[in-house]
């Protein structure tokens, strides 16, 4: 277990990784990655029960995580590397030919830590529901976590899965929504407002925890602990994680500009200057 301060330091390094990986690859999705870095660090280092050295597809005896918005591979891979799934140095291969670090998560390249391809949006909640049912069938008391973008909630399959999980009382499942109100074309409110998201999930028979500031490490830790405490009570749990896309670099924040575009080599130092190197760059 890390202290909150230690987690914050890791998150700063992860943000550096995200920017350096995407600029190095000249492609990728830094915006949502920066916004969710605190959550991924908290999950990987403190909240989830697993051992990266003993990774298995079955995830038996471990918590499992499915990231449905697979485009945020920069944060997924950085936190995985920093947690010990694979060498940190491998981050420099992100999106390069022959890499295990594919643009979107893949099981076809034997990267430990990835159990399902994702990135075709809207599918990860169903997969998480299936894994959670599998855990129930095999008597495994561990939790299945899923992560979703808020724009992704426009996909109908999300609501099929939400309806199923609520109706069937899949209560070993925690789905977190990255609630940053940004998607590619505009804000989520402009594209397809979510209305009262908490009420939506509650009406689908879920319990809901709202984290008001998902870029505050302590709030993330407390909110996710609260969510975990709500499992095993007959309802799936949804966490609405309010974040800022691009968090950590002032000129990248609160815009969808960096959803799928990267900093130039010239702009990268300006961003990195705001993020001190804490664990050593790859």
């Amino acid at each position: 277990m890390k202290t909150t301060a230690e987690l914050q330091q890791i998150a700063t390094q992860v943000r550096r990784d995200i920017l350096r990986m995407t600029t190095n690859a000249k492609s990728g999705h830094p915006g949502g990655s920066l916004g969710t870095a605190d959550w991924f660090v908290a999950m990987n280092f403190n909240l989830m029960d697993f051992d990266p050295a003993k990774f298995s597809m079955s995830g038996e005896g471990e918590d499992m995580l499915f990231v449905s918005q697979g485009h945020i591979t920069p944060v997924i891979y950085s936190t995985m590397a920093r947690r010990g799934f694979f060498p940190v140095d491998e981050l420099k291969t992100f999106r390069k030919f022959g890499t295990r670090l594919q643009g979107h998560p893949s099981t076809a390249h034997n990267l430990p830590g990835i159990r399902m391809a994702s990135g075709s949006l809207g599918q990860g909640l169903s997969v998480g529901v299936g894994a959670a049912l599998g855990k129930k069938m095999t008597g495994d008391k561990h939790i299945v976590y899923t992560m979703h973008g808020d724009g992704e909630l426009e996909e109908g399959q999300i609501w099929e899965a939400a309806m199923f999980a609520g109706a069937k009382k899949v209560d070993n499942l925690i789905a977190t929504i990255d609630y940053n109100n940004q998607q590619i074309d505009a804000t989520v409110d402009e594209v397809m407002t979510l209305g009262d998201l908490k009420a939506k999930f509650e009406s689908f028979l879920w319990k809901v925890v709202v984290i008001e500031n998902g870029n505050d490490m302590q709030q993330v830790l407390d909110g996710m602990a609260k969510a975990k405490a709500l499992t095993g009570q007959g309802s799936p749990v949804c966490v609405i994680l309010t974040t800022k896309m691009g968090y950590g670099v002032d000129f990248m924040q609160d815009t969808n500009k960096y959803h799928g575009s990267v900093l130039s080599a010239d702009d990268l130092p300006k961003a990195l200057a705001q993020l001190p190197e804490t664990l050593g760059d790859f």
Partner: protein, 317 residues
Amino acid sequence: MTHYEIKSSKELRAGMGEGLVEAGKRNVNVVALSADVKGSVKMDGFAKEFPERFIQCGIAEANMVGIAAGLSLCGKVPFIGGFAEFVTGRVYDQIRQVMAYSNKNVKICGSHAGISLGEDGATHQTMEDIALMKVLPNMTVLVPADFNQAKAATLAAAEHVGPVYLRLGRSKMPCFLPEGEKFEIGKAQLLNEGKDVTLFACGHLVWEALQAAEALEKEGVSTEVINIHTIKPLDVKAIVASAKKTGAVVTCEEHLINGGLGDSVAQTLAMHCPTPMEYVAVDDKFGESGTPDEMLTNYHLRAADIIEKVHTVLKRK
């Protein structure tokens, strides 16, 4: 000519249903999921026998595919059941991402496939499913020929590790293959030896091909009949060997002419031994309502149509 008799008239989907119960008895990890059609796709026997291993997904096929993929991670062997159109075309991308690309041990049971579905009409009569499934890397595509073979194919699918599409029809069709025969995935089944022409058939049209062969033999045309119950992986060796021997080929399938068994055979012949070939398949168009018999006859999928194509191909030799 090896003579085949109709022992009974049974639905292939029911063969799958029986096979699934048997697979469930053999392996406690076999689970079944259905999208509000467990009776229609004959999963009700399994649901009754193993209620704790049956998952009712409601009318939500996309979610069902994802749940099955998730279950497979935990060592389960999920069979998902639905109307063939709605568990292939409707959820193509889901199958592509979490079953095929992720290479998960999920089995799709597509019932009501083909034009012999009949009265429901074109919305439900998929004749594109073989094409859709066979183009996916990692996917195995099985098209059994009768009730007994559907049962055997289900058992084989349960033992095979990896994603499988199992194509099944709704209507009662001749049951002519022996009960309890082992189903070997990827192994073409020689039903009749011949030397003038080869009929490569799958699914319901295997029976029609046998009927055609009997009539052709009487005309003096020695007709080889091979059941290609596995479209993928294709038994290239058997196809090439037979085509080289007879020098003329007709493919027979209850599928659109594009992308089905015929195209797989044509590709094989083009690469290994170019051979005159004709297709018995449905032209590039959708079906309509009618009885299964009317459908097969009016869309030219009968023994008589096969015989006509044999006459055509023989002239091209």
